[in-house]
């Protein structure tokens, strides 16, 4: 088991280095970022800025410096806010993670019962309806779901604020939007992983020894179906944060996503790099934790 964990940890470190390389290359993708930032400026001014940003050094030197600085949380000053970019990102992280957690909770609260129902009553009208909802949900752009909810609940019926963040009522629409984006995903996984275990021998045995159907499903089937749910939640965490970025933009939620999208429009590279890097590191860490959790939840992994 410890060999497995060590191997996983090594991969975690390697992936983190890869993530730094990709983040580093955002700035250099254009060839000359300074020309992008100040297209009108005379060459002398550009050269001055290039020196100030350390862009005249060879790329490997710049990369090592980037990693060393990133490890200390230093991504440079934001071009526009004139503040350290990392601080601006960290400041907004709780909002983004809060929105994501709210949405995941909401999605699980709906997806677990509906997914179980679909699997247990396979091919009934209810199951077909649930499948139809999954299809519809996965075919809608998340930002459009948000605008439609805004149109109905904020503009038409005036029940909730159009945008913002902070009060409970302002959190409802963003959380429901991101939840609506996440629910079909979970429903699908829960249904299929329940279907896989529900006809296995041990479930039949549990039923045969006279346990109630309810107990069989919750105690025996769901426990084993939970593994794929944990894995997929980890794997889809990137998709979820991407959804959060779009939701924040629709509802003007002051989170990391909205900050990065704004920074991308202004070519404020330090913020873009700090934000993308931090989100990626969170995703890598979540996946690493999922793997570790997996070892504890599934004893068969420990043997290998």
């Amino acid at each position: 088991m410890s060999a497995f964990l060590i191997r996983r940890f090594l991969r975690f470190v390697v992936v983190c280095i890869g993530v730094s390389l990709v983040t580093f290359s955002i700035l250099h993708a254009s060839g000359d970022p300074v020309a992008l930032i100040m297209p009108e400026a005379p060459e002398a001014d550009r050269a001055k800025l290039r020196d100030a940003l350390g862009l005249s050094d060879p790329l490997p030197t710049q990369f090592v410096r980037f990693v060393a600085n990133a490890a200390r949380g230093d991504f440079g000053q934001s071009f526009f806010h004139r503040e350290p970019a990392f601080g601006l990102v960290v400041e907004r992280m709780p909002t983004t993670l809060g929105l994501t957690c709210l949405a995941v909770t909401l999605a699980l609260a709906i997806a677990i019962p509906v997914g179980i129902y679909s699997a247990v009553f396979r091919n009934t009208l209810g199951d077909h309806a649930a499948t139809a909802i999954v299809f519809l949900g996965q075919s809608m752009p998340v930002f459009w779901i948000g605008i439609m909810l805004m149109l109905l609940f904020a503009v038409q019926w005036r029940l909730l604020p159009v945008s913002g963040w902070g009060t409970w009522s302002s959190m409802v629409l963003p959380a429901v939007t991101l939840g609506a984006f996440t629910t079909p995903l979970f429903m699908r996984i829960i249904r299929s992983s329940m279907l896989e275990v529900i006809n296995l021998d041990y479930v039949r045995t549990a039923r045969a020894k006279g346990l109630s159907e309810w107990l069989v499903i919750c105690r025996h089937a769901l426990r084993n179906a939970a593994l794929p749910i944990v894995t997929v939640t980890g794997l889809q965490f990137g998709l979820l944060l991407g959804g959060a970025v779009l939701t924040e933009t629709v509802f003007a939620v002051p989170g990391v996503g909205r900050l990065i999208v704004g920074a991308i429009r202004q070519l404020d590279f330090p913020i873009v790099q700090a934000g993308v890097f931090l989100l990626a590191i969170i995703i890598v860490s979540v996946n690493f934790l999922v793997d570790v959790l997996y070892v504890y939840l599934n004893p068969t992994v420990r043997l290998h």
């Binding site: 992936v15 700035l27 519809l136 459009w144 439609m148 991407g242 991308i264 070519l267």
Partner: protein, 301 residues
């Protein structure tokens, strides 16, 4: 679909896959959902191709006199502008029709880029194993560590927004699934008798890959590609919603929704209708992809 669990590999022997092909095709063609999906797609593609002739108006023509004309079924609507006009008086229907071109073009081209990169990586990874496999696996892990939309947004902005940039960037941020699935299939196929037989009679490695292994991965690649096109269309819409579209010259659905969001209190149709166009298109593709998967999956025979 966003989640695809690895499917059983399809009909290993080439002969079997041809015989199974017509059976699978019949199963697909008899399915009502697949038929509806295909019909919608056919209409969408034809409309997109014939956009300049089908669209009732020039999608860029403005008129301040006609601003915010509601759809024709509402009071104040005008039958000449069936789906109404936007904040500068452009015809919404014509813009949706022209927008279909960008969505479908970017969707299909981006997936082609992903397909080439992902399938090559998967084949190399599965066949060479060892260091190559580890290296490609690491690259896959790294690229799955970013929210796709954010990474694509950053690179499109840094490279300068254009249609080609969007296609390439979306293609290069969506190839991982091909690599994973093809690699898994190669590992399974490698041990099959017909591959061993080919190896035994001295067939070269490259030829085994191209002639014996690749044809047997085609059905999963086809299914995956269909579902990936749906994802790519949603991703393109998200990029142009966030404001790094292919430039302002040509209407796109995402950009129309983004403008519609600003006028959500005065003109509901501006954001709603292009979104419906996305929903119908992506839903049709997902239906076709899902039924294709069912039809091609030998486990259901």
């Amino acid at each position: 679909m966003a989640v695809m669990l690895p499917r059983a590999t399809v009909a290993y022997e080439v002969g079997a896959s041809i015989a199974g092909g017509s059976r699978a095709w019949r199963r697909f063609a008899l399915n009502p959902a697949a038929l509806v999906g295909s019909a919608i797609l056919l209409v969408m593609v034809s409309v997109a191709l014939a956009a300049p002739w089908v669209a009732p108006h020039d999608p860029a023509k403005q008129s301040l006199l006609r601003r915010f004309t509601p759809p024709m079924w509402q009071t104040g609507g005008n039958a000449a502008y069936p789906l109404g006009t936007d904040q500068v008086g452009r015809d919404v229907l014509s813009r949706i029709i022209h927008g279909a071109r960008i969505s479908l073009l970017v969707g299909v081209s981006a997936v082609l880029v992903s397909l080439v990169v992902g399938v090559s990586a998967g084949l190399a990874s599965g066949f060479m194993g060892g260091k190559v496999d580890t290296a490609i696996g690491t690259v896959v892990d790294v690229s799955l560590s970013f929210p796709q939309i954010l990474l694509a947004l950053a690179f499109v902005a840094a490279l300068g927004p254009s249609l080609v940039t969007i296609i390439v960037v979306l293609g290069l941020t969506g190839w991982e699934r091909y690599a994973r699935v093809v690699r898994a299939e190669v590992l399974a196929l490698r041990e099959k008798e017909f591959v061993e037989a080919a190896r035994a009679i001295g067939v070269g490695r490259l030829r085994i890959i191209v002639r014996h292994v690749l044809p047997n991965t085609v059905s999963s690649i086809v299914v995956m590609s269909t579902l990936q096109v749906a994802q790519a269309i949603l991703a393109e819409a998200a990029l142009s919603f966030l404001g790094v579209g292919s430039g302002n010259a040509y209407p796109t659905w995402g950009q129309m929704i983004s403008l519609g969001r600003d006028f959500v209190t005065v003109a509901w149709w501006l954001a709603t209708l292009p979104g419906l166009a996305i929903l119908v298109t992506v839903l049709a593709i997902n239906l076709v992809g899902d039924r294709l998967r069912d039809a091609l999956d030998p486990r259901t025979i």
